[in-house]
Symmetry: C2
Subunit: 272 residues, 2 copies
DNA sequence: GAGCAGACATAATGAATTCTTATGGCCAGA
DNA sequence: TCTGGCCATAAGAATTCATTATGTCTGCTC
């Protein structure tokens, strides 16, 4: 039931979620309706182009994801008693999401294991990976320090700073100043649509970008997980649609067969 | 499925859990068996006197409780957008359990509300309650500052300090030094069974008691939620069985009808 | 503007899962 | 030895769940 909800939101449509889950569209449609009757209010806006979250849906989503991740971990890991150490390198945008919390849950389930999450610059990340201090790296595909074992595509969305006029000309844009791989693709998107823009603020950390948004300095491209609901852009035509980003996971070859690293890897794959 | 597990553990037997959930004993028996097949290892020891936790069961239990509490809250509270303030007074043994975490989850679901959890001495608690700074108090029945709206009975269990010999004569006992209502009932139990004992350590905080146990200073009576698995007493005949404690919830009359206080109260009732 | 494609809703049938009733085994206490 | 409490198992009944088959709406194309 919660799985249906989360999948539908991620897929953007009930039909796609249904095929993703290996079911039919009416089955998902019923499940979602039932979930809404349990909650007592609608969770999704239905439109001929797909579904989008209502206010109540936005509040439920993080809890649903947390519950699913806790369940999956508790049911598959309980009593396995893994030990060892695992270093995980994350893209900063992912490190700010609820992914580290889920990793913390996993660590608590295995008191004999230590788990370390860090997000570094590309160069430092590669160095830590080569040195064997970081065993798993989840990052954008061009930047992963090794052949990706699997990849996922995630969308980017616009975040509108507090009080910012979307129609402003030129458009004030808040950017990551470090060499973020989608920095260029965002700017290319703006150029291609002949939209005048200016750099309103640059920061080399996500919290800096979020602070600039809260201060109303401009708009920025973020992953949905880092988007505060009040900053969501509700008019799809106001700004050009952004390209997806492709994330990939690299695993250090020396860790092949390590049960703890296996567990962390499948946890990451499940939660991303 | 998880609900069956948690209820069975709390009830101490599958049959009692079944009636508590309004089902029959074979139904629960099947559910638990299925859960065990999902996890891949046994969660409960079955005996003609009831059930007890295996190692894997002990690990799963806190996660199961967390998942259930998150689900219940997310499904009933999503989109209600409560505001206001609620002060909650807890018995120290409860404040150390996972109850505050669940209250924190509730608070996160209502960004417009503030929630404050504190545990004070009986006198200070009553004063805060009378002054209206604390709106809900969950404590032992003799100590609640007002007529309890509902009560629950919870067992006490023995915690064996690290390396302590249960057969020692006299038995070294670690006690709360503040006027804990079950201090006397524990000592009465020992007296009644003609078991010689001595006070090995007194502390006025739970962390002090736990530290003394870890240091191997003696045995102590705790609520099961605060019992670290390694300290569990596995031989039911080694020490006399302890009486239950009766907890009650008092609610300040001025808060009647407040939706936020309503939500917190039902959350407490559900999780205790 | 007619037709088409994609997306969601609804209704009814069929398949699974889940619960119940009925029964048996096991251990403890009288 | 008998009785009562507890758990396990088996088979039928009931409920839930998913599928197939439609219908409606919107947006897009010609």
């Amino acid at each position: 039931m919660l799985r249906s909800f989360v999948t539908a939101v991620r897929a953007g449509s009930i039909s796609r979620a249904a095929t993703a889950l290996g079911h039919t569209q009416p089955a998902l449609s019923q499940q979602l309706r039932k979930l809404e009757s349990v909650v007592g209010r609608p969770l999704l806006y239905r439109s001929p182009s797909g579904v989008s979250l209502t206010r109540a849906g936005e509040e439920l989503l993080p809890y649903a994801e947390r519950i699913l991740s806790l369940s999956a971990q508790a049911l598959t890991e309980a009593g396995r008693a893994l030990t060892g150490h695992c270093g995980v390198g994350l893209l900063e945008d992912l490190a700010a999401s609820q992914l580290p919390q889920a990793l913390a849950d996993l660590a608590r389930l295995h008191p004999g294991a230590t788990l370390e999450v860090l997000s570094l610059s590309n160069a430092a990340m590669r160095e830590a990976y080569d040195a064997g201090r970081v065993h798993l790296v989840l990052d954008e595909v061009p930047d992963v320090p090794g052949p990706p074992r699997w990849t996922v595509r995630r969308p980017l969305v616009w975040a509108i700073g507090h009080g910012v006029d979307v129609a402003a000309d030129p458009l004030p844009v808040v950017l990551f100043s470090n060499t973020c791989a989608w920095r260029t693709s965002v700017l290319e998107t703006l150029e291609r649509t002949d939209r005048p823009w200016r750099v309103a603020f640059e920061s080399n950390s996500l919290v800096g970008v979020l602070a600039a948004l809260r201060a109303g300095l401009g708009v920025a491209a973020l992953m949905p997980a880092n988007l505060e609901p009040v900053m969501a852009c509700h008019d799809p035509d106001a700004l050009p649609t952004l390209p997806d980003v492709e994330l990939g996971l690299a695993r250090h070859p020396r860790t092949e067969g390590d049960p703890l690293i296996d567990a962390v890897e499948t946890a990451l794959r499940r939660m991303i």
